[in-house]
């Protein structure tokens, strides 16, 4: 098996005197879709920001593609989608994507391709500020698909997306993994877990599970990830 694309060891992030991520260690395997699941506020976004290298961390080490997280060389190799759409409301869909393509040095032909992939080809000329919230997030997602990132860190990319597009996007994530990219995708929707190769379950800054969906269900003797999550929480609370 290939070396992991991300190795997190003893990561601690403190914000406002309170640990937000508290001694988390795991690896993200290459060429797979790893799901990061947990309720809102559990530290998913902070963990992802740490991997991308935009978060001030209090302790621990993070290796990404063989370099410390946030290294200069990683900036064109890691794609990142923030939870709220980080795009310009006063630019059209195409102008947004084109700008980020120029900043990444991605080929100009990528612009139409990624807009098509997120299903916005009918809105290319529209101002992003006039789109719905879900459509804005798709513009943001489109910019992360530019070029050929080796690692994609996607923070809740399918929030507010209709079921057909959600299916298509997950198919696209699977294609990317099949082509050799590695993905870390967060969600608070437990049914998305079934589409992942591997799951990280997070609660209150700690990891509750790091295994395949099948192994998780077998270990907890449950039928759904939602139930597995509940079983793990109950098991971790001292009686």
């Amino acid at each position: 098996m290939d070396a992991p694309v991300v190795s997190v060891d003893g990561l601690r992030v403190v914000r406002g005197g309170r640990p937000v991520v508290d001694g988390v260690s795991f690896t993200v395997p290459a060429g797979q879709v790893t799901g990061l699941l947990g309720p809102s506020g559990c530290g998913k976004t902070t963990l992802m920001r740490s991997i991308v290298g935009v978060q001030i961390v209090a302790g621990g080490t993070i290796d990404v593609l063989g370099e410390p997280a946030g290294s200069r060389g990683l900036r064109s190799r890691v794609g990142y989608v923030t939870q709220s759409a980080a795009v310009y409301g006063d630019l059209s869909v195409r102008d947004n994507v084109r700008y980020f393509a120029r900043m990444l040095g991605a080929p100009a032909s990528d612009v139409d391709r990624v807009i098509r992939e997120v299903g916005l080809d009918d809105q290319t000329g529209q101002l992003v500020g006039r789109l719905s919230g879900g459509q804005r997030e798709r513009v943001s997602l489109a910019t992360a698909l530019l070029g050929t990132p080796e690692l994609l860190v996607l923070d809740e990319p399918t929030v507010g997306v209709d079921p057909v597009l959600r299916r298509d996007l997950w198919a696209r994530f699977r294609d990317l993994a099949a082509a050799g990219a590695s993905l870390l995708v967060s969600s608070h929707v437990m049914d998305e877990a079934a589409r992942c190769d591997r799951l990280l379950l997070m609660r209150e800054g700690r990891l509750l599970a790091d295994e395949t969906p099948d192994a998780l269900l077998a270990r907890t003797g449950t039928a759904t990830v939602e139930d597995a999550f509940l079983a793990l929480i109950e098991a971790s609370v001292p009686a």
């Binding site: 001030i56 900036r75 980080a86 700008y99």
Partner: protein
Amino acid sequence: MTPARTLATARRVLLQLRHDPRTLAMLLVVPVVLMGLLAWILTDAEFDFWAPPLLGIFPLLVMFLVTSVATLRERTGGTLERLLSMPTGKGDIIFGYALAFGTVAVVQAVVVSAAAFGLFGLQVAGSPGLVGLVAVIDALLGTALGLFVSAFARTEFQAVQFMPLVLIPQILLCGLLVPTDELPAVLRWVSVVLPMTYAVEAMQQVLHSVTTTSAFRQDVAILTLIAVGLLGLGAATLRRRTA
């Protein structure tokens, strides 16, 4: 930092402005209207005294406001974090903004100066072109100051409040209301480190001298240095890692 990325950023900022025609119109029309108002209430000789310094102060004020709000939006909207997680240099962002707003400033300076000279009959001893040059440098200075202070504001309300804090003391001390050598000693020293003092002095030189004086050249050099220095400080306030 690469020329391609800096230019792409400047182009993007200008495209954003193009989608905001009201702001663009106000950038050009408001200073002209204010200049007209000034010409209306003052005698010709008074207008010739007040208009050149104001031609220097308008672009500084306007560009300060526009830039501090625009960059604050970039910080709070997540796009700055996004850009800094990409192979973007901090200079690409700062100089991209400076280039875009500098371009707007050139247009603004040309329009307002043309109105002041053509419509309102402003007369100066020196060349109107030099008035325009100082106006452009002042606009860049406003952009640089706006970029810098936006780092210290969390909300757009705070950013707007920096204007009275940063600019009004400069207007009071720049030598326009009271000549700087008549200020109390302490304030005279303060005025020496405030950039608007040089902006106003440069305009007064054009007003009174047919040829460019050494004082004018010195003022322009100091203004340019301060603008470039503040742009550098502005770049330093961009942090790739935040809490």
